[in-house]
């Protein structure tokens, strides 16, 4: 899962060579991207990776403001995964089209509202023989309503983010994970993306979310766990020199995966952070911010055997 952004075709500042190297070196099967402002950017990346092997989709949720306007992307390795396919009774095959997920019920009694930025939903099937399906909910929780720079003290923004996270887990997750399409495959649903919230065990300063969330679902209680507690965002300005003792370029632990503990009990899911600052930019975090992204990628490895 990776986050990269740029504004327009003419302002291409990101280094696609490095990006494609990162993807190839780490042998990702599916990559979920946030803050992709134009489908052309995704297209460029696919060109660098090689369209014979990789495919991708892009979409953008309807935005309420220019701050919210950005897009999501999915890229996957065509040799290992494909979009889910349903076979209709008359034999024709229908491929699932990833789309922005708008149709979910909110429970106003619990204070839920529609998300400010709706997530991107896709279903994938592995091509290695296992008979299952992976459903990904790609989300980028809204950072704050206004142009506030003071992140730690804007309590209103943090509350808003937490509420968004609640809606994702309480309203959205179950609707998606329980939904049956006509193919009998057991489904594994994961929420992933930039939550703009930290796990307590990460050592970050504030804006915490709960590691385990319980959700009521038609009488059953489900528990969703959020993983990946390493710091993944890079500092913005020189809040100290790289030469000082104790300087670290890590800022926050904003990027996570969330999934149902019990559903995934038979599957091993290991999350990790890939330190692309060290591996590809020789520890130069400013270079990384400029050419790659202000986040580092996180990976979730699923083992179905």
């Amino acid at each position: 899962m990776f986050k990269f952004s740029f504004q327009s075709d003419s302002e291409i500042r990101k280094d696609f060579t490095v990006l494609s190297r990162i993807i190839r070196d780490n042998k990702f099967d599916i990559i979920a991207l946030q803050e992709v402002f134009s489908p052309n950017a995704l297209g460029r990346l696919l060109d660098y990776l090689g369209r014979f092997e990789w495919d991708g989709v892009w979409d953008s949720p309807t935005s309420f403001s220019s701050i919210a306007a950005e897009g999501y992307g999915f890229i996957w390795n065509k040799k290992r995964m494909r979009l889910a396919v349903t076979t209709l009774p008359d034999g024709t095959e229908k491929t699932f089209r990833p789309h922005i997920y708008n149709q979910y019920r909110v429970d106003r009694r619990l204070g839920q509202t529609q998300l400010i930025r709706n997530p991107y939903y896709a279903r994938f099937e592995p091509l290695d023989g296992s008979f299952c399906e992976i459903r990904l909910i790609n989300t980028h929780i809204m950072f704050s309503k206004g142009n506030s720079t003071n992140q730690l003290f804007d309590i209103g923004a943090v509350i808003m983010r937490k509420r968004e996270f609640d809606i994702l887990t309480q309203a959205l997750y179950n609707t998606i994970s329980d939904k049956r399409y006509g193919n009998n495959r057991p489904a594994y649903t994961i929420i992933l993306g930039d939550y703009n919230l930290n796990l307590r065990t990460s050592g970050a300063a504030g804006a915490f979310l709960n590691e385990i969330v319980t959700v009521q679902d038609k009488g059953q209680i489900k528990r969703l766990i959020t993983v990946q507690d390493k710091l993944t965002t890079l500092k913005a300005n020189k809040a100290g020199s790289q030469e000082d003792y104790g300087f670290s370029y890590w800022a926050n632990n904003y990027d996570h995966f969330t999934y149902d503990i019990d559903r995934f009990s038979s599957v091993s899911a290991v999350s990790s952070r890939i330190n692309t600052v060290k591996d590809y930019c020789n520890d130069d975090y400013e270079l990384h911010r400029k050419t790659v992204s202000d986040h580092v990628p996180i990976a979730l490895k699923l083992n179905l055997k």
């Binding site: 076979t87 023989g129 296992s130 299952c132 009998n184 030469e243 670290s248 179905l304």
Partner: protein, 814 residues
């Protein structure tokens, strides 16, 4: 409205359909239903048994074995089958595990064969093979056998590894539902009655019943659900099989009820023939059909009916045809053929089994005996039989077979009895050798233990091989050398003496001797079915020789206790080695055991001893008896590699080159064993986090490439990188990298803080501070810190460095 009928039922207009035989159409519909049921039952069995071996079997025997020509041709069905095969492949067990299971089955079959077959003797006329087939039939084919075993309540630990993972079960459930959906649709399309199609519930009930360990109950439960299985012929086979089991129980119990036995046997016969009539050829290699034929054959053989022979022959031929090269089927067919004295077929099959390495030894022995019998019966066939025998020797070890006569004239009772005695003697010799090798191994193992406890070499940091602790002349000399050096250092020597005091020689000796005796008694009770006292009385241990030795030891012990122990006393102690003490007892023990083996005159008993030996070795985690015998011979004749040409001599400084190469190799060996021993990680503490020690070429190259150019030039000055150690430390500390070279190591330390540290330290200059868990370098009296950590076992690294230091500075030995 014309119905679109594809697949089995030929297309045509109304006229042709009505002209067709209605019965034929019904048959075809039933076939289609059977095909679907076959797949659905197979998948259900995978889910219900939750076992990887069943997965494997179903894959091989049913799902990947479908005769698609006879299958309903439906796109959806074929695609779901394909998906099913893909998913099974995803979860299959590895080849190695499968082979282990095969070996286990073969072992069981071998035992069954040898307990059934009578002794090899000279038989002039008549059938030498009048053995009971029930034992073999009870083992049956691998496919059925595994399920029977599972039905018995077995709580072996090995079962856990065959457990099908929960994620796999989920996926198979999904697939099963898909299959059922498809089947449901197809029943509509082909127009067969819905009753033909087995539902999930029926199949689950059926599977549960099949797992029932009580045969009579199984039979009755199966009988009760008869009406659902109209379009699933294997049901009849299982019903017959259950009936046969019931008959067996009556046969083997105290209260033999002859009426019940014959009643159930006739039920079995009835159901078997029903299966054979209704079965269609939907599988390419039809295991169930073969199994049915063979069990039917066994039934007829047991019942001793008059015209059974011909019928049995037909059944065997049928089984062979259906099985198409499944070796376990052929094994049973070979034995049944022998039973009905059909030597032709038996010969052919046994030879095939020998070539395909299935129970090779047993089958080769049987085959050699068959050839002999053929020659005895008809002297004209002697040449042919000889030719066959000579071919056989090429496939199997000649020592294991019945030896061959030299000419026709020796084919009389005297000659053959001679042969057979020769054969038995050869087997006895072989087994005796194995037995001796096992006993030697036991003694050797305990010698090493005994010496290890008492004689630690100087510096207990030293890692030594077990051969240091043997009692051979070479090892004793090694130890003498070590300790002579040790004795020159007063403190080390007193540590050594204290160690001896604490360990208390008397106690250790007592322990080890008892351990050896215990193992030996276990060995003889399992292999020879005798008590150790009957073989060689334990009192012999304390014979006159030994009493003398024990007195010497006790005198030395007093010296140890009074701190008057010197190097000469030490040498004396070495001379009173464990092996020496045990030697006379072991000698008589071996002699007795060997003669006991020689007394056996029955091939079956010898085979059983051999098999018990193998089991014993397996249980004690020794190598197999054959390997132990080989090890002996290897030790006595070491193969010396020829050096063809010495290129190094043409270069200057060739001695150094050689020396360096040898040293480096030795260093790499030490580093490797250090890595494998995992001493690096503390028992408490984080251990595995962000700490790495590797000698892996790939990783080393990767690390090299990550270095900056300046570092790289500096590092390459010191030679080849042999190993790499990395400690990531916390984010606010420098990480530490240690690169190991031939003569020293390089410390590379950097991090988010400032100056990189890059320094080279010679091994000789490194020291260890145990209070701070700190490695430091002592250069000209100035101590500078290299590396310290609380969670990594720094002492282990220091020990490694000492080893490396010794290797790199020592003179190379040839």
């Amino acid at each position: 409205m014309k119905r679109e009928l594809k697949g089995l039922i030929p297309q045509g207009d109304e006229k042709t359909i009505t002209n067709q035989n209605v019965e034929q159409i019904e048959q075809d519909k039933r076939k289609a239903a059977y095909a679907l049921n076959l797949c659905t039952v197979s998948v259900s069995q995978i889910i219900d048994y939750e076992d990887l071996n069943i997965l494997e079997q179903e894959y091989e025997m049913i799902l990947n074995n479908l005769n698609l020509e006879n299958f309903p041709k439906d796109e959806a069905l074929l695609s779901i089958l394909k998906q099913l095969l893909d998913t099974i492949t995803f979860f299959r067990i590895y080849e190695g595990d499968k082979q282990m299971l095969d070996k286990k089955y073969q072992h069981k079959m071998k035992n069954a064969i040898w307990s059934a077959i009578p002794n090899f003797t000279f038989v002039a006329g008549g059938n030498p093979w009048a053995f009971a087939v029930s034992g073999i039939a009870a083992v049956g084919m691998g496919y059925m056998n595994y399920r029977k075993e599972k039905a018995k309540i077995s709580l072996e630990k090995e079962e856990a590894q065959w457990q099908l993972q929960k994620s796999a079960i989920e996926q198979f459930n999904g697939l099963r539902r898909e299959l059922f959906d498809t089947a449901w649709r197809l029943s509509d399309k082909y127009g067969f009655k819905d009753e033909y199609r087995l539902t999930e519930k029926q199949i689950s009930a059926y599977n549960r019943i099949l797992m029932d360990p009580i045969p009579l109950r199984k039979y009755e439960r199966l009988k009760a659900i008869e009406q659902f299985f109209y379009a699933y012929p294997p049901y009849w086979y299982y019903l017959g099989n259950a009936a046969l089991d019931v008959a067996d129980i009556y046969n083997n119990s105290e209260y033999r009820d002859l009426e019940a036995i014959s009643k159930y046997r006739s039920f079995a016969e009835e159901n078997f023939s029903k299966f054979l009539t209704y079965d269609h050829s939907l599988l390419r290699t039809d295991y169930i059909r073969s199994s049915c034929c063979l069990e039917y054959a066994a039934l007829l053989l047991e019942s001793n009916k008059k015209d059974a022979s011909q019928r049995v022959k037909d059944l065997i031929a049928n089984a062979i045809k259906c099985s198409s090269d499944a070796l376990d089927v052929l094994q049973i067919c070979a034995l049944y053929s022998l039973r009905i004295d059909d030597k032709e077929i038996a010969q052919r099959l046994l030879r095939k089994l020998v070539i395909e390495d299935f129970n090779t030894i047993t089958n080769a022995q049987l085959l050699s005996y068959v050839y002999l019998n053929i020659a005895i019966e008809n002297k004209k066939l002697f040449d042919k039989a000889s030719a066959n025998y000579k071919e056989l020797i090429q496939f199997a070890d000649g020592n294991m077979l019945i030896p061959w006569v030299e000419n026709v004239d020796m084919l009389n009772e005297k000659g053959v009895t001679n042969l057979i005695t020769q054969f038995l003697d050869k087997q006895k010799e072989r087994i005796q050798k194995q037995f001796i090798a096992v006993v030697d191994k036991i003694v050797e193992m305990h010698t090493i233990e005994y010496n290890k406890q008492l004689f630690q070499p100087r510096n207990d940091y030293y890692l030594v091989e077990d051969s240091f602790y043997l009692d051979s002349d070479e090892s004793i000399n090694n130890r003498k050398y070590e300790y002579s050096i040790l004795s020159q250092n007063q403190t080390e020597w007193s540590i050594f003496i204290n160690n001896l005091k604490n360990k208390n020689i008397a106690l250790v000796l007592d322990n080890q001797i008892n351990k050896v005796l215990w193992l030996l008694s276990l060995l003889v009770s399992q292999a020879l079915k005798r008590d150790i006292e009957k073989i060689c009385s334990v009192d012999k241990l304390i014979c006159s020789n030994n009493v003398g030795v024990l007195q010497v030891i006790s005198k030395l012990k007093t010296k140890i206790d009074s701190d008057k122990f010197d190097i000469d006393n030490c040498y004396a102690l070495f001379q009173c080695s464990f092996t020496y003490i045990m030697s006379s007892y072991i000698f008589s023990f071996k002699k007795e055991a060997v003669s006991k083996i020689a007394e056996k005159c029955n091939i079956n008993e010898l085979i059983s001893i051999e098999s018990e030996l193998a089991d014993f070795c397996k249980a004690q985690k020794f190598p197999s008896p054959e390997n132990l015998c080989e090890e002996e011979s290897i030790r006595t004749n070491k193969e010396i590699k020829r050096e063809f040409i010495n290129v190094l001599d043409y270069f200057d400084g060739s001695d150094d080159i050689r020396k360096n190469a040898k040293t480096e190799q030795e260093l790499i060996n030490r580093l490797d064993s250090f890595e494998k021993s995992k001493k690096l990680y503390n028992s408490e503490g984080a251990g595995q986090y962000d700490v790495e020690f590797t000698t892996d070429e790939e990783i080393l190259v990767k690390q090299r490439n990550k270095l900056s150019k300046k570092d790289l030039t500096n590092i390459t000055r010191y030679g080849n990188i042999l190993a790499y150690f990395h400690d990531n430390k916390a984010w606010y500390n420098r990480y530490r990298d240690l690169y190991f070279f031939r003569k020293g190591l390089v410390l590379l330390s950097s991090g988010a803080i400032t100056t990189k540290i890059f320094e080279y330290f010679d091994y000789n200059a490194i020291g260890y501070d145990s209070s701070d868990h700190l490695l430091f370098a002592d250069i000209n009296g100035v101590k500078s810190e290299i590396y310290s950590s609380d969670s990594v076992n720094v002492r282990a690294i220091y020990e490694l460095i000492i080893e490396l230091r010794k290797v790199s500075s020592s003179k190379p030995t040839d």
